[in-house]
Symmetry: none
Subunit: 207 residues, 4 copies
C-alpha cells in the first residue's frame, strides 16, 4: 500500500483517520515519544492495520510533515508587495493567529520537530523558508525606505510574528491555565492585543 492516491473510499477514509490520529499523538509527544499503539488506539484500529496503510511509523510522520511547511509558508506567500504595508503585515498576523486557532496540532507538530533539531524538516527550512524570508525581507526593507512603516529588522519582525502567534497554539495549555477558566477562549483578546502592538510597532512617524 504505497499508493500516493488512495483508490477506494475505505482507503481514503482510513488514511485520513490514521493521519488525524497520528497528528494528535505526534504533536503531543514528538516522533520518538509517540507509539504506534497510541496512534492505533486513537484511530480505533489495530496496529497491523495501521501498517497496512503506511509502511512504517516514520512514513506516517513523513506524510504529516511533508504537507506542513507548505501550509506554514502559505500565509507569508500572500504578503503582497503591492498592497498597503501596514495592512499587509497586520493581515499576515491575523492569518497566522487564525492558523494557531484552527490548526494548533500542526503548530505543535512543527514545534516538536524544531525542538528536536529539525532532523526531517531542516532541509526545507534552509531551502524554501529561508528563500521566502529573504524575498519578503527585501519587500519590508523597501517599505521602510519608503517611509511606509517604522524602521525595524525585517527578519526579526517575521520571527516576532511567528513566535507571538504560534505561542497561542504551542503554549495553549499554559495560556489557558494562567488566564483561568473565566476566560475560556484566549483568541479574541489575543487578536486585539496583537493588532494593537503591531500597529504601534509599525507606525511610521515615530522617533
Amino acid at each position: 500500500m504505497n499508493n500516493r492516491q488512495p483508490k477506494t473510499r475505505i482507503q481514503q477514509k482510513n488514511t485520513l483517520v490514521i493521519l488525524e490520529a497520528a497528528l494528535d499523538v505526534f504533536s503531543q509527544f514528538g516522533f520518538r515519544g509517540s507509539t504506534l499503539d497510541q496512534i492505533a488506539k486513537t484511530a480505533g484500529m489495530s496496529k497491523p492495520n495501521l501498517l497496512y496503510y503506511f509502511a512504517s511509523k516514520e512514513a506516517i510522520h513523513t506524510v504529516l510533515l511533508e504537507g506542513l511547511l507548505e501550509t506554514w509558508l502559505e500565509p507569508l506567500h500572500k504578503l503582497d508587495a503591492a498592497g498597503n504595508p501596514r495592512a499587509e503585515i497586520l493581515a499576515y498576523v491575523h492569518r497566522k493567529l487564525q492558523m494557531s486557532r484552527d490548526f494548533p496540532r500542526e503548530s505543535r507538530l512543527f514545534a516538536n520537530e524544531i525542538l528536536q533539531g529539525a532532523p526531517r524538516i531542516g532541509p526545507a527550512i534552509e531551502g524554501e523558508l529561508k528563500k521566502l524570508v529573504e524575498e519578503k525581507s527585501i519587500v519590508i526593507d523597501r517599505w521602510i525606505t519608503e517611509g511606509k512603516i517604522a524602521p525595524v529588522d525585517p527578519r526579526h519582525l517575521l520571527f516576532s510574528i511567528w513566535s507571538l502567534t504560534q505561542h497561542y497554539a504551542d503554549f495553549d495549555v499554559q495560556v489557558r491555565m494562567v488566564l483561568g477558566e473565566e476566560r475560556p477562549d484566549p483568541f479574541p483578546d489575543a487578536e486585539a492585543f496583537l493588532d494593537t502592538i503591531f500597529t504601534r510597532i509599525l507606525a511610521p512617524d515615530q522617533k
Copy 2:
C-alpha cells in the same frame, strides 16, 4: 540514594553531571522520547550508576522540572512596582532574553513539558505562576491607569514577552537556519529588535 543532601564531593559532582546530561537529552526529545542510555552515555556513566543517584528516569526529570519554574519566575518577581514602568518592563525583557541565551536547554525542557500538556508542571502553573501573573498584572494595570505606559492587556503583554524571548531558545535551530551562517549569533540583533518594539508598544503618548 534518597538523601536530599548529597554528602561526599563525588556524589555532588555526579549528581550534577547526571542532571546536566539529562537536561541535554530531555530538552531535545522530551520525557518519553529520551532514554536512560542516552543520558548515561552523555554523562559518561553506566546506566545502573545513574539509578544509584536517582531512583528512576522520572525522578531525574522531576528534579529538573522542580527547579525550573522557580528559575523561570524569578525575572518576573524582580519586576518592581516601585520602579520606572517602562524601564522595569524593558529590563524584564532583557533578563528573559538573557536566559534564552544562557539557558536554552531549560527553555526547551519547559517547552516540551507544555507541549505535552504540562502533565508534571501543570499544578505549579495553575498555582504559583498564575498568582504571580495576576499580581504583576495589577501593577501593570496601575501603570496604565497612571498614564505611565500605553494601554495594553497586561496578561497578553506578559505572554508576548515570554514568546518573543523564548522563541530564540526554543526555535534557535530555525532562527539560525533562516538567518544563515553569515549571522552566527542572533542575540545582539534580537536584543535591539525587542528593545525597539517594546519601546514603541509601551510609549504612553500614543493614540
Copy 3:
C-alpha cells in the same frame, strides 16, 4: 478448495503456478524460513488467492513433499534384478544425476526436510524407502555372491550414489563457485567422473 481434482483449466494452471513458486521458495529457505508473501510474489498472485487454492502454508508444503519421495524412489525401483548388474547400477547413477540436473529444487527441498529432522517425510522414509532399500540390498548382495560385482556394503553403496549425485543439486552453488566461471556446466564432467569411479568400485575381479 479442498477438492482433490481441480475442475477448470484456470484452477489447474494456478495450482501448478503456486506449487512451482512454492518449490522455488521452500527449496531455498526451508519451510519455516519461507513466507507466503515470497511465494505469492513469485507466483504473481495475491496472498489470499494462494489460500483459496491451498488451505494453508503447510498444505502447500505437504503436497510438494508427497509427490517427492515417489519421484525420488522411482529410479531405484527401476533397478532390475534380472539385468546386467554393473549396467543396472551405472544406469541408476545416471538417472539420479539426471534428476539432480533437471530437478535441483526438488533435491534441495528434500535436503531441507532431512536437515530439519524429517518431521514430515520421516514416516515415508522409515516405511517405503527403508523397505525398498532392503529389497534392493538383497539383489545387490546376490550379485556380489554371484561374483558379478565386487563386494561392497549394499546400503552404503546406495548412500554413496545418493550423496554423490544429489551433491550436484544441493551444493550446486558451491560447486559452481569452486569451479569458477570457465566451467559453466559441471554436469558433463560429473557424469564422466561418476562413471569412472563406479566402474572401478564395482569391477569384480579385484583383490
Copy 4:
C-alpha cells in the same frame, strides 16, 4: 558487549552456551527459520540476555559461520604433496568422516548456508576455498601424471570426498532411519565402505 575477547568467566561461559545453543538451532532450521526464542530456550537464558552478549541474531550467526570455513578447510590443508598419494587421500577422507561424526551440526550449518545460496559465506568460498582446491588439484594431477594414482578429475574427486563424508552428518537422520535400529552407529561401516571404494578408485594399475 562487542568485545571480541570476553573478559570475565561468566561472559566466557555464557558466550559459549549461546553459541552452542545457536548452533543447535541454526543447523536445523537455517537462519531465517530459527528464532531467538528457540535459541534462548535452548541456552536456558532470557532473550534480552542473549542480546546482552550478541548485538543481534545476525551477529550470533556470523560468529558461528566465521569459524566454520576455516575448520572446514583445515583437513584439506593437511593433504601433503610430499606424502604417499593414496595414503594422503585416504587420510583426508578419514579426517572428513571424523568431522562428520564429531561435528555434525557444523556440517549442517554449512549445508543450510549453501542451500540458501551462500549469502554470507559465498565470498569465502569463491576466495579461500577455490584457491585451496586449485592448489590441491595441481598436486593430485601431478600424482596422476606420475602414475601414483589412477587418472581422475581432481576437482570432482574432492567434491566426491566432501559429499560422501558430509552425507553422514547432513543426512544422518535418513541414514539412521534406513539402516534401522539394529545398526545404531553407521560410522564404522561407513568408514570401511569409504576405505574400500577410494582404494579401488585410486588404484593406479587399472585400465
